[in-house]
Symmetry: C2
Subunit: 428 residues, 2 copies
C-alpha cells in the first residue's frame, strides 16, 4: 500500500472548507481511485477562532501559510488564499522551494507570475496544478492540456465570470438597471472586495490568460488582453439586444493570428438561441476549437464550494496517482513570447449613442460611418422625452479599428450627446 | 531527449487515416507537448492496395494485425479494427502479452471483454486507453476518470450515437418517415454494416457500459442495460412530441440506486429547449453529475475522422508523457459486480396507440391505466381515415413497470389495434 498523500490547506473560505469536506466524505472513494489515502496534515487561515461549520481539530494549525508550506508532513500545498502578491505568492514559493507540489485556485497569481512560478516549479521537478482557477468545476484545463493535446488549437472562448453573468442575466430577466443588479449581486456576496476584478473583466481576463498559454504554447500574458468591463452596459443595451435576438455576455476570446496572439475579454452580443446565449447566472461555458477535433463545448458551475473544491481535489487525485505534467502543458522554458495582436478579425458591431434631436444629426453620424468604411445593417431610433435621442446601429462586418475611428470622429461633432457604446456581435 | 514513442496502427479506415494525418501534420506540436517524438513504425489493414489519399510508404506493412501487435519496434498498439471478437481482440491480447500499451476506439470489444482485458493489462503493468470509444472527440473518459475523480458520481447521461440522432433530426426537420431517414443515413455511409448496432441502441449501449464502469467503480456490464432502439419511432411520435414542446433522442442514463445499478439506453422525450433537446445531427452530448461538482455538460462531434483521431491521439499523448492509470480508473480487480436494477425511478411517459373507433374504446384504455395506477396528464385523439384512431397520452409521473402492466392489459383487449409505444419523458 502506497503512503498517504498529505495535504496542507491554506485558506479556509468557501473552497477550503469544500476541500476539507470532500477529503472526509469521499475518503474511501479517493483511496480506491488513486491507490492511496488522501489526508490533511495541517491548515492555515486568517482567523483560527471562526466557526466554519466543520470540525478542524484533527489538523495542525499554522497562523502563517509560509510555515504551513514548509512543513515536513505536507506533500501537497493547497493554496486557496488568493491574490497575486503577498502571502499566497510567498507560500507557493516556499512550498516549491521545500519540494512540495502545489494545487491552487488562484488565477490572479498565475496570470501575473505564472511564467516565473512554472519555471521555478519545473527546475525543482515539482508541479503546480490549477484546474480550480478557471471555470470552477469544469475540467477545462485537463481537457485542453491533455484530452485535446494532439490538436493545433485554433480558438478558445469562454464565459467565465459568474458575477458578471449574474448581473447581465438579472438585468435581462428582471429589468434591473446595471446599478440595481450590481447591488443585488453585491448583497449576495458575489462581488469581490475590489469590484473591478469582476465587473471590470479582470478576473475573467486572468482565466483567459491561463487558457491562452496552454492552448497556444505562449507565455501567460495578461497585459496582452484587450479588456473591457460590463459597467457601461445599460438596460437599453440589454433590451435592444433582446429585441434583435441577442444576449449580452462578457465573452473571452483568444486566437492566434498571422499578426500574433489576439486576446480579448469584452461584453459581446451573442445569439439568444446559441449555447453561450442560453447561459444563465453563475454557469460558465468554455468553447475550444482545434484542427482535428472541431468544436468542443464544456458547461458547468463556475464557482461555489462544491464545484471549485471538486476541481482542486481532481488535481490532488492526479498528484496522488503520480501523474506528472508541465504547469502549462509544455516546459515553461519552451513557451513562446508571442507578439500581441490587436483584434482585427471582422465582425458586425452594435453601436449605441445619444444624438441631439436636430435636423442633420443622423446624417452626420451616417457620413462618419461611411467615411470609416463601416456600412449599416440596421438602425433604430427610439422615442424620447428630452433633446437627445437614443440611436442604435448594427453594422455589417467591419473591424474594431474602423469602429474606433468612427467613434473618435463622432466625439468631435456637436451632435453626439452620449459617448457611443460599441459591442462586438459574435456568432459562435 | 527521450526516445520516440512508436505506434503500430491496425485499421486504416476513416479514423486510422485521421491518426496518420495528425502524426504528420502536428509532429512538432506533439513533440513540444509530450517531450518526445511520436512516430508510426508499422501499419496493418485488410487491403494493402487501396488508395487512402495519404502516402503510407514510410511505414512497415503487416497483413496480420496480431503480427503488428507483436513487433519489437512498436511501443503502443493502436487498435482501430473494430468488432468485439476476431482480429481486434486477438491483436489487443497479443499487444498486452508482448508488453505494449493499447489505444483503441473499440467500444464493443471493451463493453464485452473489458473486464478480462483490463485485468490482463494491469497484471502485465500495461494500459488500455479508449477515449475515442465514447462520444468521439469529447474528452469525456478523461473528465470522468481524472477531472471529476474526487466526486461520488450520481448520474451519467448521454446522447452518444450520431446515426440515431441524424435519423431523428431528419425525421423532425424534413418530415421524413423512419424508413426514409434511415435510407438517407445509410446512403451517406452513416449506418454500420449491421444496422441494429446503431438503430438498435447497441453501439450507444456499449458506450454507456464504459461510462458506467468508470463512474460507479463497477465491472462493465453491457448485459445489464435495458436497451431499446429507435426503429419503432414513427413520424407521428416526432410530430406529437414537437407539438408538446419535446424532441425525441436516444438517451442513455446510468445511475446507482438502492437496488443496484440502473442502466438504460432508450428513446426518450426531452424538452426542445434543453441542451439535449437542441442537439442536432451527429453531435454528441454527455452529462455528468457528481456530489461535489453538480452538473457538467460536454458537447462535441461524436464521430468522424478528425474528432475520433483527436481522441486516439490524446490517449497517445498521455502515454508519451508517461501518465499511467488503471483502465477503468481503479484497478480492475477492485471493480464491483453490481446487481442490475430495472429502472423504477418515476417519470412521466408518452404513450401512442391505435384504438378501434367504437364506443367505449377510450374508456377501456383509461380504466386500464387507472387500474395500473397510472394517471393521465394530457390526451389527444387525432383525426383519421380508417377504423383505427391514433391516440396519444402523456401520463403523470409513474414507473416503467406500471406502464408495462398497463400495456400488457391493453394488448389483451379487443380495442387496441396497434401495439402501444411508450417513451419516457426526461427533464434533464
Amino acid at each position: 500500500m502506497a503512503a498517504p498523500l498529505r495535504l496542507g490547506v491554506a485558506g479556509l473560505g468557501t473552497v477550503g472548507i469544500g476541500v476539507v469536506k470532500i477529503v472526509r466524505r469521499n475518503a474511501a472513494l479517493l483511496q480506491a481511485r488513486t491507490g492511496r489515502a488522501v489526508t490533511i496534515s495541517a491548515i492555515s487561515a486568517r482567523d483560527r477562532s471562526k466557526d466554519r461549520g466543520v470540525s478542524l481539530k484533527d489538523y495542525a494549525w499554522e497562523d502563517d501559510p509560509v510555515a504551513l508550506a514548509r512543513r515536513d508532513d505536507v506533500d501537497v500545498f493547497v493554496e486557496l488564499i488568493g491574490g497575486d502578491e503577498g502571502p499566497a505568492k510567498a507560500a507557493v514559493e516556499a512550498a516549491l522551494a521545500t519540494g512540495k507540489d502545489v494545487v491552487t485556485a488562484n488565477k490572479a497569481l498565475l496570470a501575473m507570475h505564472g511564467q516565473a512560478l512554472a519555471e521555478m516549479a519545473e527546475a525543482a521537478g515539482r508541479q503546480i496544478r490549477f484546474e480550480a482557477a478557471v471555470a470552477g468545476g469544469i475540467p477545462v484545463i485537463k481537457a485542453l492540456t491533455e484530452g485535446l493535446a494532439a490538436n493545433d488549437i485554433t480558438r478558445v472562448m469562454g464565459v467565465m465570470n459568474g458575477t458578471c453573468n449574474y448581473i447581465l442575466t438579472r438585468m435581462e430577466t428582471a429589468g434591473l438597471t446595471y446599478e440595481e443588479a450590481f447591488a443585488e449581486a453585491d448583497g449576495l456576496g458575489y462581488v469581490e472586495a475590489d469590484p473591478t476584478l469582476d465587473v471590470g473583466g479582470i478576473d475573467a481576463g486572468h482565466k483567459l490568460t491561463l487558457l491562452s498559454a496552454i492552448a497556444f504554447g505562449t507565455r501567460p500574458d495578461f497585459g496582452g488582453i484587450e479588456i473591457e468591463g460590463i459597467d457601461r452596459i445599460a438596460i437599453e443595451d440589454i433590451r435592444a439586444a433582446a429585441d434583435m435576438g441577442y444576449r449580452i455576455k462578457l465573452l473571452g476570446v483568444a486566437q492566434r493570428t498571422g499578426r500574433g496572439l489576439e486576446q480579448r475579454m469584452q461584453p459581446c452580443l451573442v445569439p439568444d438561441t446559441s449555447p453561450l446565449g442560453q447561459l444563465q447566472g453563475g454557469t460558465n461555458m468554455v468553447v475550444i476549437e482545434g484542427d482535428a477535433v472541431g468544436q468542443i463545448v464544456l458547461r458547468g458551475p463556475g464557482a461555489g464550494e462544491g464545484p471549485t473544491a471538486s476541481a482542486v481535489m481532481g488535481d490532488v487525485c492526479d498528484l496522488a496517482r503520480g501523474l506528472s505534467l508541465p504547469v502549462f502543458g509544455q516546459p515553461a522554458t519552451t513557451l513562446e513570447a508571442s507578439p500581441r495582436a490587436r483584434s482585427e478579425l471582422p465582425a458586425p458591431f452594435y453601436l449605441r449613442m445619444g444624438l441631439l434631436d436636430k435636423p442633420g444629426a443622423l446624417a452626420k453620424v451616417a457620413a462618419i460611418l461611411g467615411n470609416a468604411g463601416v456600412s449599416i445593417d440596421r438602425m433604430r431610433q427610439y422615442g424620447h422625452a428630452d433633446t437627445s435621442a437614443p440611436v442604435l446601429i448594427v453594422t455589417h462586418k467591419t473591424t474594431r479599428s474602423a469602429i474606433d475611428e468612427a467613434i473618435e470622429a463622432m466625439r468631435a461633432t456637436d451632435v453626439v450627446t452620449e459617448d457611443p457604446v460599441a459591442l462586438r456581435i459574435e456568432h459562435v
